[in-house]
Each structure stands twice: as structure tokens, then as C-alpha cells.
């Protein structure tokens, strides 16, 4: 049977406010346990929440950035459940009246077409603390530093049809939230994580299949893997005549499998009701418009500018604008070398290849944009050829250093001395009579291809440093004279 995959994502974005959603405590990562807490975060008797207006501004900025409905009236609700790292016995969230309503996001698919993914809503909520099960000898430690840090939960429609689309959607969200500066987007530290609702159904069937919710996935790579392995699991079950159980599952990246989360025993009834300690949020058009006006250039706008201003292809432009840091990097390279096309080739080519091989994100690459720009300058002024440039890049990646010094130290400078190249060309022609004869016997149209052999020989003789353009021109001229 042929199956259709249906995926919806709930993305949790930690907002980059200085203080927490409902208290003045610092909202940061990595402090000693329970040092970033106030009476409110500790759930002390009598403590009351005060809503952080900066979190409101950020949520509204997000709503305007994805062209969603920003709700002028929204309400905090309490989600009641007991857990040791939930100090009040409830999480303050939004239920019936979220701050951001319907919106959408366009993603680019592998075939370069554009697909629109619906965004159901985005709401503000406070994070819980952390339970630390290790290091306490059979006991559980509670760290409430994260308690009440602000989250924006962005819920998509079940519009994605494969794992790659889910990754593209997540990447695009990442680009937007980092571009508008509402989150650092640091997935390793949990600043952005997602739950994926995954189900399958026979192709052509209208009704959705039973879904599994994959919890707390915190890297792009894991989203893809987790969804794929979950889809396989579901297909296996259904094709064996079994049934999917609706449940939350955890992706184990070490074993590359999903498994049911420690069951919370019974179905939770969260008993949502409007939080009586907080007033409804009331905002007006002027407030929303002012925030809309102050938005920076968004990924789609940047992509359009890369096409219109820098002459990039639509594809390159969209790849390069997919992340704010990548786009910033690219523009920094262009600033040094002034050649957008070459810069785009290097960033989407060699640089991306290395990033994939070494599994690092753009903000961690060892080659600075300035160095890459200088390297491209040396290609453009014929100091090195592209092969030499790759060697320099490799050295920059692995050992750092300055571009010119590396070229010098490794003898990568391109030989453009016409006399020296001519001597090498003459040598190669003299030592390859058989190939010269074949060249001469060949039809004129086919000779171009046969030049490759001679090119390779000369480049080899020059240890790759000969200027390929000059070699090519000389070879053609001299061989044609022999014919």
C-alpha cells in the first residue's frame, strides 16, 4: 500500500527577554541551580505574577512577521497539573484566546517549488523548571532557573507531507525568529525545540490517521530522523495489521528509535481556566503597527533583494537567506570580495560541504567571512586557481592562518608567467606524440574534449599552480598548429 505522511509541528521558542515572563528574575542559561529565581518562580504562597511587556512585544513581532492575525484581546489561562518542577501546580499559558491567530509560512521544497504551511496559532506561556534525576543518589533535584522563562509556542497545521518539509519549516521559523531578534535560536541549549505530530494514512484517504506526538526534538537533523523512523514504525504496524496508539513518544538519537514516554498514567485533564491573577492583554492597532514598522528585513525580503540587487538565482537567494547568520555571513563575504555570484558559490558549495562533513552550524565555522572574501579576491586576481583555493580553504578550516600566508607557504601561487607555461606545454606535447596524433585525426568538434588530457598533464607538471586559462589557450593554439 502507498502511504501519505501527515506532519504538524509545535515549535517552542524561548524568547530572548532579559527577565522572565512573570517575574524580574534573569532569564538565562547555565547559572547554578535555583540562583535565577524570585518568589514568583519558586511558587511561594502569596506571590503573584506580573506580565513582562517585552515578551508581548516579541510575540506581536512574530505575529506581524508571519502576517498572522495579532489578537487585540488575549487571555492567560492556567493549565493545572502536578509535577515537582512545576512549582505552582499549574503552568500559565494561553488557551482560548492566544496572542497570535491564523498565519502562514512559505517553505521551499527540494524541487525548488514553494509550499505554504498554515500556522494555526502562537501563544505565550511560561516554561517549567527542570527535574535532575542524576547525581542525587536516588533522589530528584529541582532546578527552577528555567521556571517562568517565556516561551512562544507556534502550532502549525498538519500541512507537511514528509520529514524534509518539516525541517524546511523549522529552518524557516528559525530564520524568522532569529532575524526579528526574539530568540537566540540556540537549539542545543533548548532555546528552540519542537514536538512533531506524525501520522500516516493510505494515499487518497481524507481522514487523518492516529498520530503519535514526538516530544522535545532539539536539532534539525533529529527532526528529520525522528520523523522518518517514526513513519517507518507506523507503516510496519499498519502493514502487519496492527493499530497506532495515540501517545507521546521520545526520540532516542543514540538508538535512532522512538519509544513511548514514561507514561503519565492516566489521560491528563488540565482544567484550563482564565488566570485570575493576570488581566487580559488588550492591545490596539497603533501598538501592533508600530511593531510591524520596526521589523527588520525578513528572510523572504532578503531573498528577494539578493535576486534583484545582487543578481543571485532564486535558488541561491533562498538558500542563503534561510538563516540570518548564514545570510549575514554571505553578505560579509560579498562586502570583502564584491562578487556576489562567487561568494554564493563558495558559501553554498565548499563552505556548506564542510559544514555538513563536520556537522557544524554557520555560527561555529572556523573560516571567517573576511578570510573567505580574501580567498575569493585571490581567485579573481588570478593569484590562485580554484584547485589552489580549495586547498587554502581546507587549511583555513583546519588550521586557521592568513590567506596570503597560506598561499605562500604551500606554493599555491598560480603560475601565470607565459614563458614558463609555454615551456611546460611544449614539453607535454613533445612527450605525447600518440595523443597528438589522435587529436589531429579527430574531427574538429571533438577536439575540445580531447584537450582535457593535455590540460591534466600540464596542470600535473605545474603541481596545479598553472593558470588553467592560459594553459588552455596555449595548448589549443599549439596543437591546432600541428594539425
Amino acid at each position: 500500500m502507498s502511504w501519505e505522511i501527515v506532519i504538524g509541528l509545535e515549535i517552542h521558542v524561548q524568547l530572548a527577554t532579559k527577565s522572565k515572563l512573570f517575574s524580574g528574575a534573569k532569564a538565562g542559561f547555565g547559572a547554578a541551580p535555583n540562583t535565577q529565581t524570585t518568589l514568583v518562580d519558586l511558587g511561594m504562597p502569596g506571590a503573584l505574577p506580573v506580565f513582562n511587556q517585552e515578551a508581548l512585544r516579541m510575540a506581536v513581532a512574530f505575529g506581524t512577521a508571519i502576517d498572522a492575525e495579532v489578537c487585540k484581546h488575549s487571555v492567560f489561562a492556567r493549565k493545572n497539573y502536578f509535577y515537582p518542577d512545576s512549582p505552582k501546580g499549574y503552568q500559565t499559558s494561553q488557551m482560548d484566546h492566544p496572542i497570535v491567530g491564523l498565519g502562514h509560512l512559505d517553505i521551499q521544497l527540494e524541487d525548488r517549488s514553494i509550499k505554504r504551511i498554515g500556522v494555526t496559532r502562537a501563544h505565550l506561556e511560561e516554561d517549567a523548571g527542570k527535574s535532575l534525576h542524576e547525581d542525587y543518589d536516588g533522589m530528584t533535584g529541582i532546578d527552577l532557573n528555567r521556571s517562568s522563562t517565556p516561551l512562544l509556542e507556534i502550532v502549525s497545521e498538519p500541512d507537511m507531507r514528509n520529514a524534509k518539509e518539516a525541517v524546511a519549516y523549522m529552518r524557516k521559523m528559525h530564520a524568522i525568529v532569529t532575524t526579528i531578534g526574539i530568540s537566540d535560536g540556540n537549539m542545543a541549549e533548548g532555546s528552540m525545540r519542537c514536538d512533531a505530530n506524525v501520522s500516516i494514512r493510505p494515499k487518497g484517504q481524507e481522514k487523518l490517521g492516529t498520530r503519535a506526538e514526538l516530544k522535545n526534538i532539539n536539532s534539525f537533523k533529529f527532526i528529520e530522523r525522528a520523523i522518518n523512523v517514526e513513519v517507518e514504525r507506523q507503516i510496519d504496524i499498519l502493514e502487519d495489521g496492527g493499530k497506532i496508539v495515540q501517545e507521546t513518544r521520545l526520540y532516542d538519537s543514540d538508538k535512532n528509535e522512538t519509544r513511548p514516554m514514561r507514561s503519565k498514567e492516566e489521560a491528563n485533564d488540565y482544567r484550563y481556566f482564565p488566570c485570575p491573577d493576570l488581566l487580559p492583554i488588550e492591545i490596539d492597532d497603533a501598538y501592533i503597527d508600530a511593531i510591524r514598522q520596526s521589523l527588520p528585513e525578513l528572510p523572504d525580503q532578503r531573498s528577494a533583494r539578493f535576486v534583484s540587487q545582487l543578481g543571485l538565482s532564486e535558488y541561491d537567494a533562498s538558500v542563503l537567506s534561510a538563516s540570518r547568520t548564514l545570510a549575514d555571513y554571505f553578505e560579509a563575504v560579498v562586502l570583502v570580495c564584491n562578487d556576489a555570484k562567487l561568494s554564493a558559490n563558495w558559501v553554498t558549495g565548499e563552505l556548506s560541504k564542510y559544514m555538513n562533513q563536520h556537522n557544524v552550524e554557520i555560527d561555529q565555522v572556523p573560516v571567517t567571512a573576511v578570510h573567505l572574501g580574501q580567498l575569493i579576491n585571490r581567485i579573481m586576481d588570478d593569484t590562485i586557481n580554484s584547485k589552489g583555493a580549495k586547498a587554502v580553504f581546507d587549511e583555513l578550516w583546519n588550521q586557521a592562518g592568513e590567506v596570503d600566508a597560506i598561499i605562500e607557504a604551500n606554493g599555491l601561487k598560480q603560475v601565470s608567467d607565459i614563458g614558463a607555461i609555454e615551456a611546460m606545454v611544449d614539453d607535454v606535447i613533445a612527450s605525447s606524440p600518440k595523443q597528438v596524433q589522435q587529436y589531429a585525426d579527430a574531427e574538429v568538434e571533438k577536439r575540445g574534449k580531447m584537450l582535457g588530457f593535455f590540460m591534466g598533464q600540464v596542470m600535473k607538471a605545474s603541481k596545479g599552480s598553472a593558470n588553467p586559462g592560459q594553459v588552455n589557450g596555449l595548448l589549443k593554439k599549439k596543437l591546432d598548429l600541428l594539425c
Binding site: V50, N80, K88, R271, F273, L278, L279
Partner: protein, 494 residues
């Protein structure tokens, strides 16, 4: 020292008749000597109080004193006091020492008032008789067989017995006004949002409001001046300038329009209480007021609606008492679920558990619309009733409770009978309007309070009326011992 008003003590302190330290010591000694009978205090904060008294004396000496500087008072044990146990009259918090002071407490301390201790109350402010306290029932100083009312019963008994001149209370459904009525005190529940809730252990957040319980309207105005004010730590506190509540005390009542809702004088009302109230209304009419019959048609619905909304909020507010971070924790929990279940089963009393269950049920999936949402609609109707009535009249008067203080133990087996006690008080909390009780006579030796309700932020008007009434009556000056009937004799006679 007993039964001196705040104003009298303030005058004495200013005149140097005694120091704050002296009166504080006297009061604490008096409480130690006499409170065993009433059980109105849960704890005394002697060391803290003496420190505050010394600081007050220093202020008085340098002429930097406020009217409350050096004046002793007591806090209902629902107000967090930094460094001193705050129990909410529950086993759950019997060992809880807050690391911070409530906003109201801080404001009183800044004014120089001296907190001598924490008064008894119904557990987590849930009750109308002060019989649900983990620390035992409180007895009404007017009649030791009677309840003092609740939930601020300890505050009421302490002031009525002359142990302290004033005390703080909280009022979620009548918890200041009903005990004030039962103990012959002047107590006011301000407009919702007038007084910060920060640092007051929450019962039902959308209804809770703190206020003073005193011997006179003037004292209540002085206390409210110190307690009220916008607090950025309480999002529901109102960002509005706080008036001087004493400023209008002496205005004449000419032309005042007083509404008497017919629903306040229905069949459930004790006829003798009705007589007291009508006599008081007459007195106010004599002062120049015009009496107008009005109707609050949805009054009766306030009981079922309140007993859905308040428990719903309480079920969530009390979730934090889980044995994890502070307060009671059961012995040797076997696992997390056992920790939760036994901590809460052992730490909460019966009435608290009942309300948590009711609230949890009302908020549950499938019942939420039928209960919580419907109750909120009724709340809106009640609010509209008051808006309509208060467009015709300046204030509304009636009884605070259908009966005078009832006997200890008489309602404890029937929670619904207890809930019906709140019929006249709940609606003011539902609407958020200010309301107060002022002494208006006695029925068989037990006090009766006149209920005065007004429009939003009309506290000064209410206090003005009570003060003017107190200029022509002396009910508020009566004390349990002033008619020379010793309390113990009353007990025998009853």
C-alpha cells in the same frame, strides 16, 4: 489599655503618655494572659514587635511619626510576615516562615505600625465560623458559646476582646464583614484592586480583598489609608490615586440616597436582626438620607455561583502546597504520587479538601461550561444588578448576615447551612464593589452589623456614613465587659 482606639493610642504616643515599647509589651502580656479563652491568636511575634516598637519610638522622638507610628495591631495569619510563621491556620503551613513581607504588611510597617502577632482564622480563609482552623476554633468574646464568624474570626475576636486596637482581615465572600458583624466591629472590604494582594496567601484570587477590622469607622479609615494603594507586584491592583479616607468622614449625609434591596429582607432573615437594621436605617434617615426601595433580582444566585467560582480558583491556587518546596510533607513518601496524595490528605483539613474537590470537579472537562462558565455569567448578572441599583442610589444597606453569631458547632455538620450564612455578603465580592459592616445593635447579647455597600472606589463615602452614624449611636462603643456582665457569667447564663 484595653479597648483604646487607634486614634486614642496615637494621641497618647504623641503626648508621650507611654512609649510604643511599653504599650507593645502590655498588649503582648495581656494577650498571653487572656487569649487562652478566645484562642484568637495563632502566634505572637514578640521579638519582631519590640524591634518595630523601638524603631517607632525613635521616629516619634525625632518628630518623624505617622499617625500609626508605634501603634500595635495584629495580622490575620494569611498575610506573609518576613521571618515569622504564616500558617493560613493550616497544618500544611504550620512550619512555614515566609522570606518576605506582604505589600500590606510592608505598608503598615513603613507607617510605623507594630505587628504583635498573627490571628486565628478559618483554614485558608475557607469558612464562616472560624471552626475550620487547624489551631482550633475561636470563641466570640461577646458570648463564649458563639462563633466569632469567619474567616477572619481571630482578628475579630482579638479586637472585640480588646487585645489589640485593630487587625487586618481578608474578605473573599464576607470574611471581614460577617465576623465584624458578629463581634460588634467596624470592618471594610475595599473595592477589588484597591489593596494589593501580594503576599496574602490566595484563596480565590478574583474575589480576595484585604481590609481593616477596627472599633470605629475613623480607625478603619486610618488603617485603610496605610493599607491601600497601587502595587506593581499585583497585576490586579488598580492604578489609581488613593484618596485620604479620613477626609470625608465629617461630611453631612443630607441628600444621601440609600437603597434597601427587598431581597435583603426576605424570609431567611432573623426578624430581630431585621429590627436592628431598620432602626439603624431610620437613624441614618434622620441624618438627612432618603430611603429608597430597590431590587437586586439575582442575589440568590450569588451562593451557587460563588461556590463554583471560589472553589475553582482555590483548587488551582492551593496546588502549590505539594510537599516539595515548603510546608508540610508526609513521612517517608514511597514515590511521587504517594508524596502528593498523603501530603495533601494529611496537610489539609476537611473544608479545604471539600472545596478543592468541588473546584476540581467544576473545572473538569465536560463540566467546565455547565459550572464555571455559567457561574461567570451569573457573576456578570450580579454585577449588572449592582450597576443598575447604584445608578439610582448612592449606597445600599441591609443586614450583613441573616442571624447574629450562631452557636459553636451548630453548623459544622451541614456545610450548605454554613454557606447560606454568606447570602448577603457574597454579591459584593462577585461585583468587586466596596462594602462594610458597622455595629447596629444586639440580639440576645450578640451583636448585629449594618451592611453598607457602595459603588467602585466609594470607600470614603461608606466610611463617612458609618462615622456619621457612630456620632449619633454608641453601639460601636459597647464592649463585652462594658455592661459589667463578666464574660464568664454570660457563658453560664447562655
Amino acid at each position: 489599655m484595653t479597648h483604646k482606639t487607634l486614634v486614642q493610642i496615637a494621641k497618647d504616643l504623641a503626648a508621650g503618655k507611654y512609649s510604643s515599647r511599653e504599650i507593645t509589651q502590655d498588649i503582648i502580656a495581656d494577650i498571653k494572659a487572656r487569649d487562652a479563652v478566645y484562642n484568637s491568636f495563632i502566634s505572637l511575634s514578640e521579638d519582631l514587635a519590640l524591634g518595630q516598637a523601638d524603631a517607632a519610638d525613635a521616629r516619634i522622638k525625632v518628630g518623624n511619626a505617622d499617625i500609626l507610628t508605634g501603634v500595635p495591631f495584629a495580622h490575620k495569619d494569611l498575610f506573609c510576615t518576613q521571618g515569622h510563621t504564616t500558617t493560613a491556620a493550616s497544618k500544611m503551613l504550620a512550619n512555614f516562615v515566609p522570606p518576605y513581607e506582604s505589600t500590606v504588611g510592608q505598608r503598615l510597617l513603613s507607617a510605623g505600625a507594630v505587628c504583635v502577632g498573627k490571628t486565628n482564622m478559618d483554614e485558608f480563609a475557607m469558612g464562616s465560623s472560624n471552626e475550620s482552623s487547624f489551631f482550633g476554633a475561636v470563641k466570640n468574646p461577646w458570648d463564649l458559646n458563639a462563633v466569632p464568624g469567619g474567616s477572619s474570626g481571630g482578628s475579630a475576636a482579638a479586637v472585640a476582646a480588646g487585645l489589640v486596637p485593630a487587625a487586618t482581615g481578608t474578605d473573599t465572600g464576607g470574611s471581614i464583614r460577617q465576623p465584624a458583624s458578629f463581634c460588634n466591629l467596624t470592618g471594610i472590604k475595599p473595592t477589588y484592586g484597591r489593596v494589593s494582594r501580594f503576599g496574602i496567601i490566595a484563596y480565590a484570587s478574583s474575589l480576595d480583598q484585604a481590609g481593616p477590622m477596627c472599633q470605629t469607622a475613623e480607625d478603619a479609615a486610618i488603617m485603610l489609608n496605610a493599607m491601600a494603594g497601587f502595587d506593581e507586584q499585583d497585576s490586579t491592583s488598580v492604578q489609581q490615586e488613593t484618596p485620604d479616607f479620613t477626609a470625608e468622614l465629617n461630611l453631612p449625609l443630607h441628600g444621601l440616597k440609600v437603597g434597601l434591596p427587598k431581597e435583603f429582607f426576605g424570609p431567611g432573615l432573623n426578624p430581630q436582626v431585621a429590627e436592628c437594621i431598620m432602626a439603624a436605617v431610620k437613624e441614618i434617615e434622620k441624618l438627612g438620607a432618603q430611603i429608597i426601595d430597590i431590587s437586586l433580582p439575582n442575589l440568590e444566585l450569588s451562593i451557587p455561583a460563588y461556590y463554583v467560582i471560589a472553589p475553582s480558583e482555590a483548587s488551582s491556587n492551593l496546588s502549590r502546597f505539594d510537599g516539595v518546596r515548603y510546608g508540610y510533607r508526609c513521612d517517608k513518601p514511597e514515590n511521587l504520587m504517594d508524596l502528593y496524595c498523603r501530603t495533601r490528605a494529611e496537610g489539609f483539613g476537611t473544608e479545604v479538601k471539600r472545596r478543592i474537590m468541588v473546584g476540581t470537579y467544576a473545572l473538569s472537562e465536560g463540566y467546565y461550561d455547565a459550572y464555571y462558565v455559567k457561574a461567570q455569567r451569573i457573576r456578570r448578572l450580579i454585577k449588572d444588578d449592582f450597576a443598575r441599583a447604584l445608578s439610582q442610589v448612592d449606597v445600599i444597606m441591609g443586614p450583613v448576615a441573616p442571624t447574629p453569631a450562631f452557636d459553636l458547632g451548630s453548623n459544622t455538620k451541614d456545610p450548605v447551612a454554613m454557606y447560606l450564612e454568606d447570602i448577603y455578603t457574597l454579591s459584593a465580592n462577585m461585583a468587586g464593589i466596596p462594602a462594610m459592616s458597622a455595629p447596629a445593635g444586639f440580639v440576645n447579647g450578640r451583636p448585629v452589623g449594618l451592611h453598607i455597600m457602595g459603588n467602585y472606589f466609594a470607600e470614603a463615602k461608606l466610611l463617612n456614613i458609618a462615622h456619621q452614624y457612630q456620632q449619633v449611636t454608641d453601639w460601636h462603643l459597647q464592649t463585652p465587659t462594658s455592661n459589667n456582665v463578666p464574660v464568664s457569667n454570660q457563658e453560664k447564663g447562655a
